[in-house]
Symmetry: C2
Subunit: 177 residues, 2 copies
Amino acid sequence: MFHMKRIAIDMDDVLADTTVKIIQTINGLLDKNYSYEELMSNQLARELFLKDYLANNSFLWQPGFFLDVPIKEQAVEVVKKLSEKYEIFIVSAATEFPESLKEKLIWMKQHFPFISWTHIVFCGHKYMIQADYLIDDHEKNLKSFLGTPLLFTAPHNLHIGEYQRVDTWDSVANLLL
Amino acid sequence: MFHMKRIAIDMDDVLADTTVKIIQTINGLLDKNYSYEELMSNQLARELFLKDYLANNSFLWQPGFFLDVPIKEQAVEVVKKLSEKYEIFIVSAATEFPESLKEKLIWMKQHFPFISWTHIVFCGHKYMIQADYLIDDHEKNLKSFLGTPLLFTAPHNLHIGEYQRVDTWDSVANLLL
């Protein structure tokens, strides 16, 4: 029997533009004017935003937040093509956020109807996941991964240099298709 | 650094007496009189119950079902002792049941407060979970597991002969402690 290689794909800030939704929420709560582009280009803005975020992130535990997170450009198209060549598991560190779990299933069904519940994993630590690749935005998940780690670029990981980096879903396509 | 061996433990019919709650629910819905003891000892009763269950199990998708499932005897005591010697992950095939996810987290916090959200996994397939042992009641999960599979006895697995079997949490303690 032929076995496809397996890719584990994170949700927040990989499939989903979660930081974009967080910025909108923080701007609304604190009457600020942060933008994703500013966080990508300006370290001082990142530091100020992080401070505001850490002091005001209880919305992550409230119902509704994860339901309408925007989707990353080209994510659907590239994951669809990847799924013809690889076995895809979606692996989200979500058990910290009990309200998010059902919402993340609904979100997946809406945007990625070709991925079944059998291939969606909600967990805390990811180091017991067996896969050939892990596409993730957090170093803590990549550094303990036994396969090939791929760092998906986000404002909070720009300082990390040790991993192969993918900036966009087009970069993932170039690398893996 | 010393690495503990890792045990993945299923929830339904391993930590939780889910079949007991299902029997109560089916009895209430259909005015029947099934009992766990009868299902364990009588094959005809198992067949009749399975038919009733498959035709009437939509309650599994409704809110509330998983919140008050009874807990298996000695499960807390033995898992607590195991957690001193092994790394414990709870791995439940729950993403088929969106309403169950938050309820299962609440249930875990209530009965197993010493197990953190970092070590709770909700998934579909379990074959990408890396562990030394898997304690589970379903052959489909055990047969693709790469470590040592342990079959936790339940009425629906009495016919399976190929796996090392544990009938109770005391049996698990005898084997692993």
